[in-house]
Symmetry: C2
Subunit: 205 residues, 2 copies
């Protein structure tokens, strides 16, 4: 890559990271201004426009980062799930790790899904759907619920994704290594078990 393109890519990345940093520091993405982002990225406000039309466009690019993160999360969970009995515990453990290490992205996700622009809401909804479909694919391959057809598996997996997303909001507000945090993770594991039991019992119609 040419020097110019490389430097541009660097600044662009700095802008995306700046926005995430501001979200991480407690800001709501919807309230973050172009000037704040530029300042955090170490450039002048007007240079922002060389990369994005507005914060909405930047947000859509953050959804792409989120997409990559969720994809990696699915892969990590798949690789981690060796023993079939502890699959729930492993999944929750990996999820917790990802939420901690990508706090900013998950905060952006939960905020954006409910309070973003219509475009951003749609993009995140779409990413969560892809996320769900990838899990469906894995569950189908592992024959976790052999009695279910793919539509039924999707319905159950959507419930899993719903539960994960809701729990993420709670987990993001709990400090590490506290009783409350541990209890919340235990709750999530139990809820996964309920869903798994229900899915195993599912009979058509």
């Amino acid at each position: 890559m040419s020097i110019r393109k490389e430097k541009k890519a660097q600044t662009r990345s700095a802008l995306l990271n700046a926005a995430l940093q501001l979200v991480k520091e407690g800001g709501n993405f919807a309230t973050i201004s172009i000037r704040e982002i530029a300042k955090q990225a170490g450039i002048v406000p007007t240079a922002f426009y060389r990369h994005f039309k507005d914060t909405n466009e930047l947000g859509l690019n953050l959804v792409d980062e989120l997409s990559a993160c969720l994809r990696q999360l699915v892969r990590s969970t798949r690789e981690e799930s060796t023993s079939n009995s502890k699959i729930i515990n492993n999944t929750v453990h990996v999820l917790d790790e990802y939420i901690q290490n990508h706090r900013e992205l998950f905060m952006f996700m939960t905020q954006g899904r409910t309070g973003g622009t219509p475009e951003i809401r749609k993009a995140i909804r779409n990413e969560l759907n892809v996320f769900s479909l990838e899990i469906v694919s894995d569950l189908a391959q592992q024959q976790s619920f052999p009695a279910m057809n793919s539509a039924q598996l999707k319905m159950v997996t959507d419930l899993l994704v719903s539960t994960i997303t809701y729990s993420t909001t709670d987990l993001l507000d709990l400090q590490e290594n506290t009783v409350l945090k541990t209890e919340r993770l235990t709750l999530l594991k139990q809820q996964f078990r309920v869903i798994a039991l229900g899915a195993a019992e599912w009979r058509t119609q």
Copy 2:
């Protein structure tokens, strides 16, 4: 009530409704300004301070309105649930009705839970917990899951509330009387069934 106090209460109510109206019109509560709210309420910006210190304090009062709404929702669902077989369909139907008729409040709830100030997030989390506890009380009384102790019932009900909250965000973005909307309601009903099946199968440890 004296004339003065009555008029003050009216203006206060107008401010709360103005904020909700702005949320309903697509604004994110976090981005709504004092001046916008005052304008929508038909008063001068500075008069806002006669009622609330800032938008955060107003938001906390909106949580109280949300609280009342959720309480009423529980009551309506309880009264509606006559036939035990159709309880899930009735519950989803009542929920859908409430989301339609109190759009603004549910939008405020989903936005505030993920993107509000720490105070508002906490207040909404608390309301949802109370909501869950009320449902637990109902389920216990109806002996829906006789094998479960109250802690287990709470765990399952939290899953129900999680599912409701997540679905609410989706439902708020879908137009009435469309295929997608109907499908989303069907999905929710099926997920309720999975949870109910799982809860019935739950064995300790």
